[in-house]
Symmetry: C2
């Protein structure tokens, strides 16, 4: 069986136009063409493992993704996340490839979803990009937004001075004009395209500063507990988009806002339907829009297939 | 990550003493030391995929096994079964190895379970081994019984003359004294150690011919529908052993006999408890015993670990 290492993946990725591939994945998902069984979970003393698997009907491959988090690893000098994706042919079950991506492709496909959300929902004229958080997704989300906006002005919020300074220095070297703040409310005051990337369990962004024409993509919250946005932000939004309505009913910002009674189930539309033009996204410059991304297996399927095809 | 092919596995296997390793796995399972979440299942147009995963608490690795069956493959000149096992460290989640066994290790661990069942349950003096079926397990079960009995006299039953003759010729060349029959009742008349290996959905062995001192291992039935033994055979048995009571309640011979009201839940003991001496197995030569094997993830864990350790 063919195998690809993380280094090989990193060298292949820049040459692939993944945005349309992942858009197609979301559209197929919303159309009901994706088969995505419940996630398998293995809990160990020092970590946990998730097994996601599925396929898009009528396409070539099915994908099994193994992703683990071992939170004591950094103390041992090891990365906490690990993982691999396996591709098999839908028609014969023959193994096509194992991508030993160590979790890298999950990071990248998450960043692509943010870019896609911004493509369909951000205002035309982005004044300043707000990044909430200073970790891996804070970096990747900003980088992948390049495909959909010309704006290079950034305001970054973070809890610690040191990681915030490191984020500023690093992204400045990549050509961004980065300012930082320790006051989260500054972000909604100054930015009209905001991406939240933290594991917060209490809202970081309050509804008070929310201005017309703002788009927010919430990437951090992917469990029933996590929450980055005041539920009233979703209530005030003209368009609330979920990557997967089914998942967002039980986890993420939409889940919390439904629980709080701030929005109704019928207020939520699905990203794949916006992409396919079956549901309107942003229809005017002064609308407020929110996209809640919890991660869907079709993203894994599409990125694995694209990397495999590019590598061999 | 290290990888091992089917050929490498086949060359390593003969040098490993797997019987005690797999016995330990069953004992750990019955002791409640195994963590084995529900099996993941992916259904495709032309096949199906099962994902089994788990670990034994306090040991070194967790194992994820991917096994597929694509039933149109033989017409394309491809094997119907396929698969791989992945080993990861329990303490850090680091990948240890992928065994690209193509389903071979599942066949072998199933045969070892048959040998273990016979070791604890077969009568001391085996007159003749009865093999019901002529496929892969009909071969492997017989071969692996060598570890636990000196008997080389075999009576094989099969539905087709041609596969039955091929089975006889092949196993005769390996040193067995093989007779064949097309009358299933001959098997219970002539053999006191019987292994059933077919995907039958109607009983092949009737209770009428059942003699004192017989042991039957039923390997073929692993779904709620399949059945090789008349439910009354289990009712007449002095000892009924399941590899996993939990699984045998919903699939296999025990499931069918419970459904028919032929036995009660309390009549069933677990193989790992017999191995560990916590439950008696056969206690006299004239007892009738039945072992129902549906396949437990600890077998996969133990064989994967043993092959990995022997190969590197």
């Amino acid at each position: 069986m063919k195998t690809i290492t993380r280094e090989q993946i990193a060298s292949v990725l820049p040459g692939i136009d993944l945005l349309p591939a992942i858009e197609n994945g979301f559209a197929a998902y919303s159309e009901g063409r994706a088969v995505v069984p419940p996630v398998g979970e293995l809990i160990l003393d020092k970590g946990e493992v998730h097994i996601k698997y599925g396929y898009i009907k009528g396409e070539d491959y099915y994908v099994i993704k193994i992703a683990s988090g071992f939170y004591g690893n950094p103390a041992l000098g090891l990365p906490s996340g690990n993982g691999a994706m396996l591709l098999y042919r839908q028609d014969t079950g023959e193994a096509a490839c194992v991508l030993f991506d160590e979790g890298y492709l999950t990071d990248v496909r998450t960043a692509f979803a943010g870019a896609i959300a911004a493509k369909y929902l951000a205002p035309t004229n982005v004044e300043c990009i707000g990044i909430v958080g200073t970790g891996t997704q804070a970096r990747l989300q900003l980088r992948y937004l390049e495909a959909v906006t010309d704006c290079r002005k950034v305001l970054a919020w973070g809890r610690g001075d040191e990681p915030l300074a490191r984020y500023r220095d690093e992204m400045s070297r990549e050509g961004y004009d980065v300012k930082t703040t320790s006051k989260a409310s500054d972000v909604l005051d100054e930015c009209n395209l905001v991406v939240t990337t933290t594991p917060a369990q209490e809202p970081l962004l309050a509804v008070a500063g929310l201005r017309p024409g703002t788009h927010i993509t919430a990437v951090g919250s992917d469990t029933p507990q996590k929450q980055e946005l005041d539920a009233e932000i979703l209530s005030r939004a003209d368009v609330v988009v979920a990557d997967s309505i089914e998942q967002c009913l039980v986890r993420g910002e939409i889940h919390r806002a439904l629980e709080a009674g701030s929005i109704d189930r019928g207020d939520v539309v699905e990203l794949g339907n916006v992409i396919a033009g079956r549901t309107p996204g942003r229809t005017s410059e002064d609308q407020i829009t929110v996209a809640d991304l919890t991660g869907v297996a079709v993203q894994d399927i599409k990125i694995a297939e694209a990397v495999f095809k590019a590598a061999f």
